[in-house]
């Protein structure tokens, strides 16, 4: 009799505790709406900090949907003029000094981009999280003085860099203020935090993101600072062709 009462009590508590939690899939869909746009032109600064030095790389990128991105390096001088093109699952890079276009594939996709905490695979991952993961809200927490839902994400496709993720989504602005990326074994691989925000075109958008490759002991983290961003602008289609790399 007592066992029955205790079970009912525990189940009731669990029900009450989770009763107010929204559906995880709905939350990540809203997050995707905030974070993505049809097209986007962005100038950003990548600051790579290691225990030996700090480097800044400036790039300008054009994005169309989820599959097409064209990036041009503006600084430092050694990198200036390098271009990268992502079309679906393919990635090419063009070096003006060598005058060669090289396809990046296989194990090279797992290598760091410019010695940063991001890999080419990270850069290639689709931005719409709700198409690749199922999400469950597991808690609510306050981080950076903002109320957040804590979500646990499990991949529904096998061809994905991080089979598990954990997100802290701002309850009001639906921005992922913190994200943790895990291997299939559950080992933490990377962490991302949004350190600064900007209000642009009627939405809150990350201004500064900080990435940390947890496995790279020599890295002190990489910051990406968005200097300028424009949404839903017209980008000519030729920009997303291999011919554009040599222009």
């Amino acid at each position: 009799m007592n066992f029955k009462r205790i079970t009912i009590l525990i189940l009731s508590m669990i029900f009450i505790a989770f009763a107010d939690f929204p559906q995880g899939d709905v939350l990540i869909k809203k997050m995707d709406e905030v974070m993505t746009s049809n097209t986007q032109k962005m100038t950003s600064k990548m600051i790579i900090n290691t225990n030996r030095n700090s480097r800044t790389i400036i790039t300008r990128s054009y994005t169309q949907g989820q599959d097409s991105t064209f990036t041009e390096y503006l600084a430092p001088p050694r990198e200036e003029g390098i271009k990268m093109l992502k079309l679906g699952d393919h990635l090419w890079t063009y070096d003006p000094d060598a005058d060669r276009t090289i396809s990046i594939s296989g194990h090279m996709l797992r290598q760091s981009v410019n010695g940063s905490d991001l890999s080419y695979e990270d850069m290639m991952s689709d931005e719409k999280v709700n198409e690749d993961y199922t999400a469950t809200v597991i808690a609510q927490e306050v981080i950076f003085e903002r109320e957040c839902w804590v979500l646990e994400l499990n991949a529904i496709t096998s061809n994905i860099a991080y089979p598990k993720r954990k997100l802290w989504i701002d309850k009001e602005r639906y921005l992922p203020l913190r994200a943790e990326y895990f291997a299939k074994s559950g080992k933490l691989l990377k962490r991302m935090e949004i350190r600064d925000l900007m209000f642009i075109d009627g939405r809150w958008y990350p201004k500064e993101m900080h990435y940390k490759d947890v496995l790279n002991k020599k890295s002190l983290g990489t910051s990406i600072i968005i200097e300028k961003i424009e949404f839903d602008i017209i980008i000519p289609n030729y920009m997303f062709t291999k011919a554009a790399l040599k222009r």
Binding site: I48, T50, R52, R55, R78, S103, S112, N114, G115
Partner: protein, 427 residues
């Protein structure tokens, strides 16, 4: 007494001929094998030192910790100044910088699109400085090693011949290196293939690229940097200098290395690298194991020969006992005889062993026919090496085995009862 025994041995050759032949043949094989193993070890030391470790290697502490993954982001900076200081402080050594790197080699087609792409192991060496030691280290002057010519400019490379053949690369073709700079950025750098090299080491023949260090620095954004600085003795002889190198290593690290600064330099001697210390210890154990085995075999053979000799000399021993010679004295004389036999056999075996070892030290054995490659950079000729140890090591099993064999065989003498002697002797 000794003179008396010698006379006995010479006047009755049947007493000594067989044991001397056994000892001489055994010691001959043993001495030759020891010299051959020493030659193989010496070759291995030279090859490893020249290609990989130097007699000394300087790196940053952080690079040394992760050296298996070639962490060029942790490489040494201001290398020219460092080399100047090293050459001033250690003038007896030849110092040379190296950069190891990995990446992909991409061979373009006529439209500059990727035709072939394969992983390569790169090595940036000082190839263009006049009198650089690296030309000797890699044996580039041997025409069977190098097809084509040495790089004359920093953007020219040597590729492994096997890789070039598989990729269809010809001398004069362009090859693009896709790799990472010292700062982690992707680098795409064009080189021109000016020569093909047959290393004779399968790991390198699968895909290796050799470039002048300045070319590597340009490609990897490593101006005035190097992953490693190697130090070599001018005579390329490390074998007898282990203690000296340890003292130098300790003094250098005491002066320049700081455990709290991961970018401070650290020096390793040859034995500190690639598990060389344990390998050399294993080699020592192998030599002593071989010594023991030879001794055991000879001991058994000579024990048997002693027994046969005992049977043949049964009457003589019986007579000597019958006329009052003490058993212990009799055994002592037989042991002394055996030592003389052992010494003579060891001397003959050592002399013949030294002679054949000297021949193979000078001329070697060409084993290139047994290998896939027709031109091998190293170790295509196996050579013996006569050391101080070779001169005396044969006497240890030679003397001990004859002594122990005779000792075991002489047990029979102790068992014989004087009362039965006359009956046995039929007198």
């Amino acid at each position: 007494m000794f003179k008396f025994l010698l006379k006995g041995l010479f006047r009755d050759p049947s007493r000594s001929r067989f044991p001397v032949i056994i000892v001489a043949v055994g010691i001959f094989l043993f001495v030759f094998l020891q010299a051959f193993m020493m030659g193989a070890i010496q070759d291995m030391i030279n090859i490893t030192a020249k290609m990989e470790s130097g007699h000394f290697k300087i790196m940053t502490r952080a690079y040394e910790e992760l050296s298996s993954v070639i962490p060029n982001d942790l490489a040494m900076m201001n290398v020219d100044e460092m080399l100047e200081e090293l050459r001033e402080e250690y003038p007896d050594l030849i110092w040379t910088p190296r950069i190891r790197f990995g990446g992909l080699i991409d061979i373009p087609d006529e439209n500059d699109e990727t035709r072939v792409q394969a992983p390569v192991t790169g090595l940036g060496l000082d190839l263009l400085s006049p009198g650089s030691i690296e030309l000797d280290n890699f044996n580039f002057s041997d025409p069977s090693v190098l097809k084509g010519r040495m790089p004359k400019e920093s953007n020219e490379i040597l590729l492994s011949a096997q890789f070039a053949e598989q990729a269809g690369v010809q001398i004069g073709d362009q090859a693009t290196l896709v790799g990472s700079t010292m700062y982690g950025s992707m680098t795409i750098h064009n080189f021109k293939v000016c020569g093909l090299v047959e290393f004779g080491i399968s790991a390198m023949d699968k895909g290796a690229l050799i470039v002048d260090i300045e070319g590597a620095r340009q490609a990897l954004d490593m101006e005035n940097c190097a992953g490693e600085i190697l130090g070599f003795y001018e005579d390329m002889n490390y074998s007898d200098r282990n203690e000296e190198t340890e003292q130098m290593r300790d003094a250098f690290n005491e002066k320049y290395s700081d455990v709290n600064d991961e970018f401070s330099p650290i020096i390793l001697n040859f034995m500190d690298q690639n598990g060389m210390r344990s390998l050399m210890q294993t080699m020592d154990v192998a030599i002593y194991g071989m010594l023991f085995l030879f001794m055991l075999v000879m001991f058994i053979v000579l024990w048997n020969s002693g027994l046969l000799n005992g049977i043949r000399r049964y009457s003589e021993v019986g007579l000597r006992l019958a006329i009052g010679e003490e058993k212990n004295h009799l055994i002592r004389t037989m042991l002394l005889e055996s030592l003389v036999i052992g010494f003579v056999g060891s001397l003959i075996g050592t002399l013949f062993g030294l002679a054949i070892s000297w021949y193979f030290q000078v001329y070697g054995i060409d084993v290139s026919y047994a290998l896939d490659s027709s031109s091998i950079m190293f170790a295509n000729v196996f050579r013996a090496k006569i050391t101080g140890q070779t001169l005396y090591i044969g006497f240890i099993p030679g003397l001990l085995a004859t002594f122990l064999g005779t000792l075991m065989a002489s047990r029979g003498i102790r068992k014989r009862q004087t009362a039965q002697l006359f009956k046995e002797l039929e007198v």
